[in-house]
């Protein structure tokens, strides 16, 4: 899955630590998501979307082969 979390975070002028604190996960988790190394749970995906006031599908996109 690809995502635009880093772009949304940069637009919001937030650090990874700020976003991590906002959605109650570790900074490493945010870093892993942004590097496409970890796909978050649905719950966390919705939390991120709520935080950035956008839709989950604005943040996450399924990779097609």
């Amino acid at each position: 899955m690809k995502n635009r979390v880093r772009a949304y975070r940069n637009d919001a002028d937030m650090s990874q630590a700020d976003l991590a604190a906002a959605v109650d996960v570790s900074r490493q988790t945010i870093n892993s998501i942004e590097r496409d190394r970890y796909d978050p749970s649905l719950e966390l995906a919705f939390k991120l979307a709520d935080h950035f006031d956008c839709l989950v599908e604005d943040l996450f996109e399924r990779e097609t082969d």
Binding site: A20, A21, D24, V25, R27, T29, P40, S41
Partner: protein, 137 residues
């Protein structure tokens, strides 16, 4: 940690604090064990070790910050990999050692039999845990 009344700290600060408490308790467990054992109190040493270890485990289970979903996913993947490795070893070693011994080719040392037996127990426990988890869903 320990409920919501101490959650005035942000999640990252709580995570750092709870990890320090966890590490400290493990350190104390080791220190107490070796120190008390050294001064000739082996039973008290084991008691103190268990006490600190139980406290450390309690921190993990009561803290809402020490592990997040990625930590739990990592733990699941690591456990899965470990079980797969043990399974592969068991598949090769259990019948292999028996066949080699019966053919008078190689007699494995008793410790290797113990290892295979221990791995077998791991799989029995895995099966019991699997059945329990399945019954809960």
């Amino acid at each position: 940690m320990f409920g919501t009344d101490t959650n005035e700290l942000d999640p990252l600060a709580r995570r750092k604090r709870d990890r320090r408490i966890f590490g400290g308790l493990i350190g104390l467990a080791m220190l107490a064990f070796f120190t008390l054992d050294y001064v000739g109190q082996p039973l008290v040493a084991v008691g103190a070790y268990w006490l600190f270890f139980v406290a450390a485990v309690a921190v993990v289970y009561t803290s809402d910050a020490i592990m997040d979903e990625r930590d739990r996913a990592l733990e699941r993947h690591t456990s899965h990999t470990a079980v797969q490795l043990v399974g592969a070893g068991l598949i090769v070693l259990a019948p292999g050692l028996n066949a080699l011994a019966e053919a008078n080719v190689y007699d494995a040392p008793p410790i290797l039999d113990g290892v295979v037996f221990g791995w077998g127990i791991v799989f029995v426990l895995w099966g019991v845990a699997y059945l329990y988890e399945r019954s809960q869903q």
